[in-house]
Symmetry: C2
């Protein structure tokens, strides 16, 4: 075991290369994010979430005909099995957290998926179908859960609406205006993939044993629920609300918070050394929503906090920082910001799992044993 | 990004040290497995599963008084919430696979856990309580599911029985004899921990974002379901049944299978270069069960396959190889061998997660981008 004990400990696996991927490229020094060679700015401004899903899963942007077929196929899969809807009602009644609900529902969907079972778990056509179903159904589950816990009836999906607009429709019971629909679609595009973040890596570890797609995506949902990953945007908004409730200038508020040893959410990223390119686009949308409503305070608070952190701490905002004020201005409940991250990132998770299965290898690192050696067993009666 | 692109690719993370652990030590050359300094042979022969759980979670073997309190606390948590039992009934009706059912139930348990919620996810006392509940309830879920799909009513847990005996009682509706109870208890002890296998590592990746214990254990269950991990013992038994159905001598059967290019399940391990110490003990129990029933054929087939593989292929059996014939002789349905692995290993997963949270670090490796560079975006209408 000399190899093991002499090796260097890499607790966070920082800088460890575990895969080759054609899905997304992050240049942390330039602040550049690319999906399959396309710059995230171009995609967010010009492509729909469905188009980006197609790109991630199939490698190329679709023609109009392929896109229409893909969209139609996905829209046809939005309905939930009555048993799943029933479970969502139970979970709403039990006051389950939205992320735990999405984790349970993702896991439960396999029971009603015609492609689940003992077949070839690595089959690409079957996984594209499973992936399409999971991606189509999670927004329905989230909207239904949120309505049920508010005492409202779920709204059935409208197959004529695009993926992003349909979610807002199912959540609110009315069709969103174009600004809201476009903004939400952009948010879905911006969150769809981001290299080997912890949730994507968890999906890959699970998939590496040849566990099925539902298992891999369920692992990823659970992993995203942590405060160090997807949970950050909710903390950003709670902070902005505190800023608003205080009578302080936002700059002053941050200064005081830092002096008290508090962590300011939404800043810094293990990969980016400059401003996250997604934060750049989201801040534009946050500003646009403020201008449209005539109330720009959430954008102003965010901007003030960003400037302060950059000058004083030399750290830039990440993707969570501006999605917070953006979702808030769209009237979305704070505790579903992370589940909304799920309904976008699920596309990336599925793409990474399919990529890995093209040439799978079990992922199994080692631990160095540092516990006691050679203890003699003493029966319970003699302890 | 020069650091990234020049680094060596470690696709399976072989030999990469990601943690220090005091939980289990594997010496692959000596064929030795140790839990917190105690040899697995001593523990399997002399300690109950509850005792080993206490050891893994608290670091020391319990005194009689501590053990009684721990056992009693766990036995009191075996009952399922009626909504969970209801979901199990739905999943049985939908003909869900047992591993997917256990994954969904593990996830769903958080909704009914009084310690789940927005509190400190890293709290050791809360996690010991949550861990005790999860570990106590999963056997109840598995037994209920198996009975429901057979058209039988679930059997309520009996708090007077030990963890292992109570599972067999809930599964079969009658108390097991001492040989069966002891054998099953040994199997639970032998499977409880094994360094950073893929499922344990998945639990750690999930926990590293500060996702909660239910998320981490759910990831682990899904990961264990893969054919390259926990699924192997089911494949071993299916192979032994094929041997039995053929009219061939077992040796001949293996020879022919290998000549046809088939993979013989239950052999080889990334960590052990010699016989897995767990297989050694399980083979004794498999033989003992054969002797007790007067039908030793399953043990004989297994022994013949082992000898052949060792002589011809120089590979030794792993833990899955003898658990197969052992569970089969105990009358346990083949497709719940892997869920039985869950109801033991869950103790190890929980121990690893608590160990990691003492000094947490986000686990986030990198991928090398090998996709296309700088593609120009063309709107869908112009493609």
């Amino acid at each position: 075991m000399s190899e093991e004990t002499s090796a260097e400990l890499k607790r966070g696996l920082e800088g460890v290369l575990v895969a080759e991927s054609s899905l997304s490229e992050i240049d942390g020094d330039e602040g550049r994010l690319v999906y399959r060679g396309y710059n995230i700015d171009d995609l967010a401004r010009n492509a729909s979430y469905e188009e980006v899903l197609y790109l991630l899963w199939h490698g190329e942007l679709p023609t109009r005909a392929l896109l229409d077929a893909f969209r139609g196929g996905m829209a046809a899969e939005r309905e939930l099995d009555p048993e799943v809807l029933n479970a969502i009602e139970c979970l709403a009644r039990a006051d389950e957290s939205p992320m735990a609900m999405i984790r349970t529902v993702t896991s439960m969907l396999s029971a009603y998926d015609p492609d689940a079972g003992d077949g070839d778990v690595q089959s690409i056509p079957a996984n594209v179908r499973k992936g399409r179903r999971i991606t189509a159904k999670l927004p329905t589950a989230l909207a239904a859960f949120d309505r049920l816990r508010r005492g409202e009836e779920p709204v059935a999906p409208n197959p004529d609406l695009a993926h992003a607009a349909n979610f807002l429709y199912m959540l609110n019971g009315e069709e969103p205006d174009d600004v809201a629909a476009k903004t939400f679609d952009m948010a879905l595009v911006l969150h769809a993939d981001h290299g080997l973040n912890a949730s994507t890596f968890a999906a890959m570890v699970t998939a590496s044993t040849l566990a099925d797609l539902h298992s891999a995506v369920t692992s990823a949902v659970g992993t995203l629920s942590g405060a160090l990953h997807g949970g950050a945007n909710q903390n950003v908004m709670r902070m902005l609300l505190e800023v608003d409730e205080s009578t302080k200038d936002p700059l002053r508020w941050v200064q005081d918070a830092l002096a008290e040893g508090r962590r300011v959410a939404g800043f810094g990223h293990r990969v980016y050394n400059v401003k996250d390119p997604r934060a750049r686009i989201l801040s534009e949308r946050s500003q646009a929503l403020g201008e449209a409503s005539g109330d720009e305070k959430w954008f102003r608070y965010s901007e003030a906090v960003e400037e302060f952190m950059l000058e004083e701490k030399r750290i830039a905002p990440n993707v969570d920082f501006y999605s917070a004020s953006m979702y808030y201005q769209m009237g979305i409940p704070i505790d579903i910001y992370t589940p909304i991250f799920v309904i976008s990132r699920v596309g990336g998770w599925i793409a990474h799992v399919m990529e890995q299965w093209k040439d799978n290898r079990l992922i199994r690192p080692r631990a160095r044993y540092v516990g006691p050696e050679h203890r003699e067993f003493v029966p319970v009666g003699e302890r």
